[in-house]
């Protein structure tokens, strides 16, 4: 009995670790593809050569100055979105929740679009988006709190209503903006990594967010059982929900500031990992960083190399890659139960 027990315990954990290791390999693969493909194709062997003295200076410049920062942007954005999505789904106890559902991205979009529409560029657009995200977060925070007690559905309703308010404002800005700006505005809304500049803010946010999430991970398992059960298991539920809300909002804000509205990743990656058997948040969180990050790296690589004369907004491709994978896993999952 005892040996069998130990065997089963380690076996099921082993399987989980193997799946995370597989995701790590896929992630490395996405890095290689991202660095080697584009208008100038660079063979994998040349990538290794970059660190030697006889490196091709053109390759070195392309890889280190263009593709590497872009890849880091893509990875950190995807990872932030997947993490934020997983947190929102527990916080709202709703499988349809995604990082944007409470209107954080709507607030960011309104202020970013105003900045773009009046001709501002670069970091000012990002700063403006971040301001909008924080404003949206505080609005939901203040209104959902009401007379003190709140429930997941109250938070959800407040957020969804405010999000549609932001949505209407976005439509208004699009309809009055000058035609010359429309393309930039639409790209921002569909999610596009070419706006990103400095790689560090998102990477640092991701690192801190990841550590906090791992520290909280078992609490997430507990909270997904519902407020009453979580309380009776020792969770300080009000405090924890607000911590979760602020954390998820900050992660989302940083992702939106970097890349606009990249859809799909935050909603689908956590479900995809659950279908792989990684339901325990202590496993799901590291897996979400790897899977979310690599999905966006792949998508961005295709977005910028699919056509030679133009690049697509990356949001178009996340779904194109993610939908078939998800349907495949869902179909396989149903059969095996």
């Amino acid at each position: 009995m005892t040996n069998e027990t130990v065997h089963q315990l380690s076996a099921s954990r082993q399987t989980a670790y193997q799946r995370i290791a597989l995701l790590a390999v896929i992630c490395l693969g996405s890095f290689l593809v991202a660095l080697s493909s584009g208008n100038i194709a660079i063979p994998f062997m040349e990538l290794i050569n970059l660190f030697s003295d006889d490196a091709n200076p053109l390759y070195a410049q392309v890889v280190l100055e263009l593709r590497l920062p872009r890849m880091i942007h893509a990875f950190s954005t995807g990872a932030l979105l997947a993490l934020a999505g997983a947190l929102m789904q527990v916080l709202l106890r709703n499988p349809l929740a995604d990082p944007y559902i409470l209107g954080i991205s709507g607030g960011a979009a309104v202020f970013a679009l105003i900045a773009i529409a009046i001709g501002l560029v670069g970091w000012i657009v990002s700063a403006s988006a971040f301001f909008g995200a924080m404003l949206a977060m505080l609005l939901v925070f203040g209104l959902a709190r009401g007379q003190g007690s709140w429930t997941a559905s109250r938070l959800l309703l407040t957020g969804v209503v405010l999000a549609s308010g932001w949505g209407a404002t976005i439509s208004f800005i699009l309809s009055v903006a000058p035609d010359s700006k429309l393309r930039s505005l639409l790209f921002w809304l569909m999610g596009d990594l070419s706006f990103a500049s400095n790689i560090w803010p998102a990477l640092i946010t991701l690192a801190i967010g990841f550590i906090i999430c791992m520290y909280f991970a078992r609490n997430l398992n507990v909270l997904s059982l519902g407020a009453e059960q979580a309380q009776s298991l020792g969770l300080h539920i009000n405090r924890f929900r607000w911590q979760l809300y602020v954390l998820a909002s900050m992660l989302t804000a940083m992702a939106v500031v970097q890349a606009g509205n990249v859809g799909f990743i935050g909603l689908i990656i956590p479900h995809l990992l659950r279908l792989m058997g990684l339901r325990d948040y202590r496993l799901l969180i590291p897996a979400a960083v790897l899977a979310g990050g690599s999905l966006l790296v792949f998508a961005d690589t295709f977005a910028r190399s699919a056509f030679t004369d133009t690049s697509l907004p990356v949001g178009v491709l996340t779904a194109a890659i993610g939908v078939p994978i998800f349907i495949f896993l869902l179909y396989r999952g149903v059969k095996s139960v």
């Binding site: 499988p95 507990v222 519902g226 009776s232 298991l233 020792g234 969770l235 339901r279």
Partner: protein, 267 residues
């Protein structure tokens, strides 16, 4: 402690003391003055009509909703002086409803019950895992470890929830209709298991029940929640009779003698 030689619990510190407890729901006062003390080894039934306040009482005692007035002490210390996690080591609560939007394996779910005993970054140990397996076999779900929650029937789900509160290992169990969805075999098997556990390990149990005959057979004490802010507290053998039950349920009742003692049935 061997079977048959049970400690005299009357001198021990109560697990739960209610002093002039007031229960309110939605601003309406249900009961003004509940006094009871739950001692180690005791098994209590809470009886009353739908909406009488059984669940409200259990939730208040578990510290997940505030009392209207009065005081609750857990092991002689006021409940407010406990942190959430300390309280979860003393009191386990079985809820009437629970749903996980992301259902996983039975064993994963049951192991979440170990939460109050683990530190922030700690994983469940082999001992925790064995405890969960034991709890599953106690509730008759020995081979269900790797089943997905979605494939369980109502009664199996209920027993899984009972296993979860068992691995929490609290001193005091507050169970909201533990035999909900259970067939006769499992009603009796689980109540027997719980009563034995309470005797052998000096746990205490307070459970909301709708079956008076189960209360008569398995519970040492009863709390009857009448309407009009009236309660009755006492030993089951002294408290449960036809007259009080008729008042409690507003239903005429017959009493039948059986080898298992008196049986009450609605007329």
């Amino acid at each position: 402690m061997s079977a048959g030689e049970h400690r005299d619990h009357s001198q021990q510190t109560s697990h739960i003391d209610c002093l002039n407890l007031q229960l309110t729901i939605g601003g309406r006062v249900l009961y003004n003055d509940i006094n009871l003390s739950l001692k180690p080894g005791e098994v209590w039934a809470v009886l009353g009509l739908n909406g009488a306040g059984k669940t409200t009482l259990l939730h208040t005692l578990a510290g997940i909703r505030p009392a209207g007035a009065g005081q609750i002490k857990i092991k002689a210390k006021p409940i407010e002086q406990y942190t959430r996690i300390e309280l979860a080591r003393q009191i386990g609560l079985l809820l009437q409803t629970q749903q996980d939007p992301f259902p996983g394996k039975v064993i994963e779910h049951v192991l979440i019950g170990r939460h109050p005993h683990l530190t922030a970054m700690q994983w469940e140990s082999k001992q925790d895992y064995q405890l969960a397996q034991q709890a599953l076999s106690m509730v008759g779900l020995k081979d269900f470890e790797n089943r997905n929650l979605q494939t369980l029937s109502g009664g199996e789900y209920q027993r899984m929830l009972i296993a979860m509160v068992l691995v929490q290992q609290p001193l005091c169990f507050l169970l909201d209709e533990p035999v909900n969805h259970l067939d006769w075999q499992h009603q009796h098997q689980i109540l027997k298991t719980l009563v034995n556990m309470a005797k052998e390990q000096s746990n205490s149990i307070l459970m909301a029940l709708h079956d008076v005959n189960l209360a008569a057979r398995y519970c040492s004490h009863c709390l009857m929640l009448f309407d009009n802010d009236r309660i009755a507290v006492g030993k089951t053998s002294e408290l449960l009779d036809q007259e009080k039950l008729e008042q409690l349920y507003h239903t005429p009742i017959s009493t039948i003698e059986s080898p298992q003692g008196q049986i009450f049935i609605p007329r």
